[in-house]
Amino acid sequence: MKIQPDEISAILKDKINDFKFEFDIAETGKVVQVGDGIARIYGMDNVMAGEMIEFPGGVVGMALNLEEDNVGCIIFGETRKIKEGDIAKRTKKILQVPVGEAMLGRVVNSLGQPIDGKGEIKAKEYKPVERKALGVIQRQPVKEPLQTGLKAIDSMIPIGRGQRELIIGDRQTGKTAIAIDTIINQKDTDVVCIYVAIGQKKSSVAKIVKILEYHGVMDYTIIVMASASESASLQYLAPYTGCTMGEYFRDISKHALIIYDDLSKHAVSYRELSLLLRRPPGREAYPGDVFYLHSRLLERASKLNEELGGGSLTALPIIETQADDLTAYIPTNVISITDGQIFLNSRLFYSGVRPAINAGLSVSRVGGSAQIKAMRSVIGQLRVDLAQYAELEAFSKFGSELDKATQAQLLRGERLVEILKQGQYQPLPVAKQIFIIFMANEGFLDKIPVEEVQKVEEELFSTLDSEYKEFMGILIKDKITDETKDAMRKICEKVLTKF
């Protein structure tokens, strides 16, 4: 079919006739100062706090400080493109980011833009980054477990869906490793994971992406990255962006897990912004609202009531301490906001106990009610035994003679520590966790030399995999009865015959 030039002209004429001349009317202000990721704007009398501001060159910012004569604004982009005297426009929109299934498997920046080179994200929905946390009526107590796959955590410091559990410890103690293991363990479950990297090296994040891809878990994971090279404003925004993405899944009755790695750097970036915006400095030069910075973020993690679909958003914030000091400003703040903490100790880490969880200082305030019954019925006095062992171990080093009961406690403690050790990226199904803890608690390992405990564990797991698959399925269904315990004892004895 040939199109005649006359026809094209006719179409064009029609289009021109239909063209509606529209004005762009915008409230504007004048940039009077720009630099260090912030800008001050004169004018814009009606701007809202948190509103998006458009600068020349497509740069976007957010109004943070509404002062008598100017608006303090953080800039998400290159400040070099903005000059003094430039016109900044109001958008009348609170900063929004894309959310939805399309985000899964992608690495995005704090504005939700893809940075993984996999092309455009075709998100259907956008949601504001700052949302008020849900009220009491919309929530319900945490009741379902979120399995991390780590024996030490799932047994002693159980985490429930909708809980906020802090992972805290010095540098190089395995905080991120716990978070990554937890993500890996969500494979084949209905939990969507969001990993927010704040102020980290790009190489570290690239490594995490590779690990997640290798374990085939990237498909249900979103990574929000504001690396160390990004501006403080982007680092400040990243956790809120991640949280908004997580809330989307919670609100459609799904379950989501979000990891903030880490909030210490987030507080530092906020301090930087606040000082640049000339807000009064408080303790350690942090602004007065540094508590609110984290409380409003972590309060957004929640378990919805059944009328709202029962979805959940579980938060695992990470805090880095200096020299195991839990009493510093930011750690105490976040400890008081969260529903418990997993404290990682560098001494334990370097003595080979990995994950280096300090059982005495770690706690889960609400997770107990979410722990599966079977696990609850086998753990018994695990935490107390471990705490007592840690104390007795210190005494035993004096070399004084010990009574039989103390020796027995030490013997049991050593084995408990041994069974709670776990390799990185090797999360364990809960049934196997129950079995090995049962074995240690019942004293089956007491006669086994400590060096052999790992081998017994391996043997137990291979026996369970090969011979008792059905039994393992039933095991986690309900509370463990006396008959089940008898059956478990028989399996333990059978395994021990090989040693």
Binding site: E22, F23, D24, I25, A26, E27, T28, Y42, D69
Partner: protein, 177 residues
């Protein structure tokens, strides 16, 4: 920016102490002073300079004020500004005064960019369009800028009305993306 805030306060104080009927003459004074100071910016520096004795500077300023309609107001203002070593903010005060007076008359000054010279009729039509949007009578300050291709861009202190062809094309490009 700080000067702007101080200028706003001075301007507000002057307007509050003026009778409404005198506002027109005050606007006339303001425009005269704006012309004087824009023609010779060094004059402002001289009034603020410690090189000349304070009395001499005040006397000179009072001489200038004598030539204006509202002598007393200007004399008081100049005296305070020179004594407080703040005479450099006089241009900001004049701008604020002009805006406030226009505002009290429900008028607004609009900087209008157009691509080519236009007839008075078209300019009046544009002024009507802007008036409809801003709900104020418009005083146009027309500038030619061929980069906007066609249409117009009207800018006040806090509102930008972009009805340029360039903006429409930019919008079209964005939609196509």
């Amino acid at each position: 920016m700080r000067n702007k805030l101080i200028a706003q306060r001075y301007s507000k104080a002057i307007i509050l102490n003026m009778e409404k009927r005198l506002l027109d003459s005050l606007l006339e004074d303001t425009n005269s002073l704006k012309t004087i100071f824009s023609q010779d910016p060094s004059l402002i520096k001289s009034f603020d300079s410690f090189l000349y004795p304070l009395k001499k500077r005040i006397d000179l300023a009072l001489d200038v004020a004598d030539k204006l309609n509202n002598k007393n107001i200007w004399k008081n203002l100049f005296r305070i500004l020179i004594k407080k070593h703040r005479f450099t903010i006089i241009p900001d005060i004049l701008i604020e005064l002009e805006e406030n007076i226009l505002d009290s008359r429900n008028q607004i000054k609009v900087s209008l960019k157009i691509a080519h010279e236009q007839t008075d009729k078209i300019l009046n039509d544009i002024a009507e369009v802007i008036k409809d949007i801003l709900k104020k009578d418009v005083i146009l300050d027309v500038k030619i800028d061929s980069s906007i291709i066609g249409g117009f861009i009207a800018q006040t202190n806090s509102i930008l009305i972009d009805g340029s062809i360039k903006n429409s094309l930019d919008r079209l490009v964005k939609i196509k993306k």
